[in-house]
């Protein structure tokens, strides 16, 4: 086995990491965080016509495999670039987990806050924006961060619809040069180098927010 292949593969692998894997994670997290909040707020609507469909959709996405969802969206939206489809599906998939984080964070805001807002006649939308969400944010940041890291580790799935993310790039190099172990080791090291410090930072944040 030729461990110097790690060095030879490094430029193309690290380029794929920054251009595809990292970008997918960051944009996917933004999509998931925004959409997850939408699910959580709709889930608290007063009409069943809203809460029940939202619940069904969220449960469905949460309980089916990401890989199948990627294929399904790719078939549906085949004309779009695969990177866009991949990021959208990562975002949608993880939004269903993040909505649960939001739900818990919002539930942790005491009921008296809603009641005080009602007693002051504050409209519901203003109560969300000015009273509830600012208090919920500190409850949800650690949970959202953990799912962002999880999403990062799911990015290799994007290769099934042909996205050239880091692991796929490494695999291509491996099959061209018959050097699989070194290039996959390289991928593992890059994942570790990126997610371990992020986890530590998350844990620090959690402590600072008093969890």
């Amino acid at each position: 086995m030729n461990w110097s292949a790690m060095g030879d593969a490094f430029p193309s692998v690290i380029a794929a990491f920054f251009k595809v894997t990292l970008v997918s994670t960051v944009v996917g997290t933004a999509v998931a965080a925004a959409l997850g909040l939408v699910w959580a707020i709709l889930g608290r609507s007063r009409t069943r016509w809203v809460t029940v469909p939202v619940k069904v959709v969220v449960e469905f996405i949460r309980s089916t495999p990401l890989m199948i969802q990627l294929f399904a969206l790719w078939v549906l939206l085949g004309s779009l670039p695969t990177e866009v489809i991949g990021i959208a599906m990562l975002g949608i998939h993880f939004s269903t987990y993040m909505s649960e984080v939001y739900r818990a964070g919002i539930d942790a805001v005491p009921r008296g806050q809603w009641e005080a807002a009602t007693a002051l006649s504050l409209p519901r939308s203003h109560t969300w924006r000015a009273v509830i969400l600012p208090q919920a944010v500190r409850n949800v940041l650690p949970g959202l961060g953990n799912y962002a890291i999880a999403m990062f580790k799911y990015t290799p799935f994007l290769s099934v619809i042909g996205v050239g993310e880091m692991v796929r790039t490494a695999q291509d190099y491996g099959s061209n040069h018959f050097e699989y172990p070194p290039v996959f080791t390289l991928c593992g090291l890059i994942f570790l180098a990126a997610s371990y410090p992020t986890s530590l930072a998350m844990r620090k944040l959690e402590k600072r927010l008093g969890h």
């Binding site: 007063r46 005491p110 008296g112 806050q113 009641e115 005080a116 009602t118 007693a119 002051l120 006649s121 504050l122 409209p123 203003h126 000015a130 009273v131 600012p134 208090q135």
Partner: protein, 275 residues
Amino acid sequence: MATEPANPEADASATAPSAACIKFDQVVKRFGSNTVLDHLDFSVDRGERVTLIGPSGSGKTTILRLLMTLEKVNDGVIWVDDEPFSHMRTPGGQLRPANEKHLSAIRRKIGMVFQQFNLFPNMRVLQNITEAPIHVLGQDRAKAEARARELLEMVGLGDRADAHPSQLSGGQQQRVAIARALAMDPEILLLDEVTSALDPELVADVLNVLRDVARETDITMLIVTHEMQFARDVSHRVLMFDHGRIVESGPPDQIFGNPTEERTQRFLRAVLEER
């Protein structure tokens, strides 16, 4: 300008059919199979201050929460200023349960101070007070802040406008909550055991603020309290509740000094022994 409770006889000549500011008409409230208010009738005049007393679970808080639209009636109608409050009129003149639009229009007349203060911890004291005047009444910021500072002065916290609620004692937080409710110029103020969560030495300041409010405004007040001396000082009338019904009602001197009902006597003895 202390106002006497409006006299129903005198006001009846006006267009309004009665002077009642609040009227409960055969109100029923259930939680599951537990009937908390059972065809309750009572009314409160404009400017009147009424204290509700009674044992735990007798329905006092429920009455205030119904008025604050935090709960809905199961049967009967609540009227405020001779307009249906728990209900609304259909074009045909029938009454049907209020929708959110009706409630949000009508609840502005009413303010409430809670046992647990419920200040917004993410806002400073001043913003707690100005938030609703600015975003609900549409006051401009300068006017709302000037009024908020006046109210803070009145509750003895003129120098704490920029504090966070967590930096205040319970008694101070409750005085801010009173200022916050008053900033909306409510016609009716609901006070639910506003000193029960406070350390004993902080109670007097809060009660004195409320005595000032009673003396200087003509706000209609519904008060739930175990502070009997305070109730005697500020209220025009006391209602004694048990199991969601009024057992006895009368002026404070009579209810506290010479109650006729055995249930009232027993309750007052129990409260006195607690102290």
